[in-house]
Symmetry: C2
Subunit: 334 residues, 2 copies
């Protein structure tokens, strides 16, 4: 391992001068700079960022903690984070909690040990333990996609209530009166908010008595499972609103397996689009969240806070949702 001392010796300068050249801090004459640079390439010197970070107390590393890395929605967020972070010279550590609270806390420990400068968190629960842990260790946190009650952090999310309202309103306008919502876990803000939007739309249409609310989790298997339950009712709904893409896929699978056609027999709308490169024939009517921008804005906020450019109070950024009408919602019903 060649160190900064080896380079310094070869270039005939002090280590600190090499450091200045590498980091472009302080002064260095053109001539010294060149001598150092040739020494670096001749020796194939690679700075040791562990030592650097230990001394400087900055790792230039951010962590992205999310709940389901297999979901393209989060993969796209990750892209947004990665691109934005690397523009500012940060690297990103990705962590997958699988929607587990203990997994999340376990990762929090590891990340603090690794001295990450900041964390972008998609919380796996409504519990504030993880956030408080980070904050007590002076690690700024930005929440993304989901919020947590009674916590002081920056947040980047979409207006799930409004998105859900619009989707359900669309179904009502098409003539549906028996509409079910298949949602995620009750403790997750987005799962709740989407149910709230659903209720708003029903209430407005005088259908408050027809509520069919199912909570579960944001997975295909659970989507299938919830669809089994709701379609087994004596008078099953004519339309389903699914709270995310995987629930939509699971529900659609159950409907097909039951010999029901979508949208002819049952209409389907849901949150979160699938990425173009994974889909042959876009089918789902969805409320599409700007995942890439969510990652981007979240990272920007975090970096601002790290570099002191952020205001004292926490910010909440709410990005717009786009309703994309495709085939699964069908035409006017009845």
């Amino acid at each position: 391992m060649t160190t900064i001392h080896d380079v310094a010796k070869r270039a005939g300068v002090a280590p600190i001068t090499v450091s200045r050249v590498i980091n472009n801090t302080g002064y260095a004459s053109q001539e010294t700079r060149e001598r150092v640079e040739t020494a670096i390439t001749e020796l194939g010197y690679i700075p040791n960022v562990l030592a650097r970070s230990l001394r400087s107390k900055r790792t230039n590393t951010l962590a992205l903690v999310m709940t389901d890395i297999t979901n393209p929605f989060f993969t796209v967020i990750a892209r947004g984070v990665e691109d934005t972070a690397s523009e500012s010279g940060y690297t990103v550590i990705y962590c997958n909690t699988d929607e587990s609270e203990t997994g999340e806390y376990k990762y929090a420990q590891i990340l603090a040990q690794k001295q990450v400068d900041g964390v972008i968190l998609v919380p796996a629960c409504s519990n504030s333990k993880t956030v408080e842990f980070f904050q007590s260790n002076n690690i700024p946190v930005v929440l993304i996609d989901r919020s947590i009650p009674d916590v002081e952090t920056d947040v980047v999310r979409c207006d799930s209530v409004s998105g859900a309202y619009q989707l359900v309103k669309l179904l009502i306008d098409l003539g549906h009166t028996r509409i079910a919502v298949l949602s995620g876990p009750r403790e997750i803000s987005t799962a709740e908010d989407r149910v709230t939007g659903y209720r708003l739309a029903l209430a407005e249409a005088g259908l408050a008595g027809n509520e069919l609310v199912y909570y579960g989790s944001f997975t295909q298997a659970k989507g299938y499972d919830l669809a089994v339950q709701v379609m087994a009712k004596t008078s099953p709904p004519t339309a389903l609103f699914c709270a995310n893409n995987f629930i939509s896929i699971g529900a659609l699978k159950l409907l097909r397996d039951s010999g029901l056609r979508v949208p002819e027999d049952v209409a389907l709308v849901g949150f979160d689009d699938l990425p173009v490169n994974m889909v042959i024939d876009p089918f789902f009517t969805v409320a599409a969240q700007p995942a890439y921008e969510m990652g981007q804005r979240g990272t920007e906020l975090l970096i601002e806070r790290l570099t002191g450019g952020a205001p004292d109070e926490c910010q909440e950024v709410i990005l717009p949702i786009e309703i994309i009408v495709r085939k699964s919602s069908g035409l006017a019903h009845f």
Copy 2:
């Protein structure tokens, strides 16, 4: 920030004793152990792994460098790597090269700076620069999925030649005689191997004169593009063999856009399955590689090498491919 010194002071011992308790190295009496542990929890002490790694020269960190993080095939590999690594106490840094040689080399620098213990690499090119760079910095490398000529490393991959042969043979057995292959970049071993397998099957059937070989890249857009080219021929093929899942999707899209039915008008087979939770109705006949096991085995090999449990010579692990026949290949033709 509370340090190991603070803990030591509180527990009335030397820092090194705290270190021993934390790491379970050396001796410590039950009583001391307890005093240290209560001091740790009382102070909320978090060890600084930067300092630890700087001194011990081990980061317990592996890097997974892959070419396309949006491709489920690689996402699943990543899962295999993650699970295996964390079982042995390693954390994983994920890097996405987007199939770019320069991106790959750039990441190599960063990873060396971060002092990763080892690297699992899906090479973006047939060039050995990156591997040699790692090796010259004493960082062991395991290649996964793709191999590189003239390089001494462990490799975990599948037999692409055989998988391609079997898929194309299946098409021939169904009666097809004009079959095209849409492959990835010429420099990538898997792209080449799959063409080789295709050629083998044709030659065996006495169809060597009918070869239709298209190289491109492993993306949906390129799959579409290559399909445009091949279907524009005066006597277009009656079957396509696509070298990966994204090419398959792109090709299928073009066929649908051209009003052609699959498999009735054109049959389609390809490499790499799509994950169940992303698909409603499995359609593609594929050669499925055991992605999870590939990640797993690759990581095991790497860890063995790090802990000195590996033999001197490099190992090449070749995992079996499963041919899954579904609808896209159709029934007997003509």
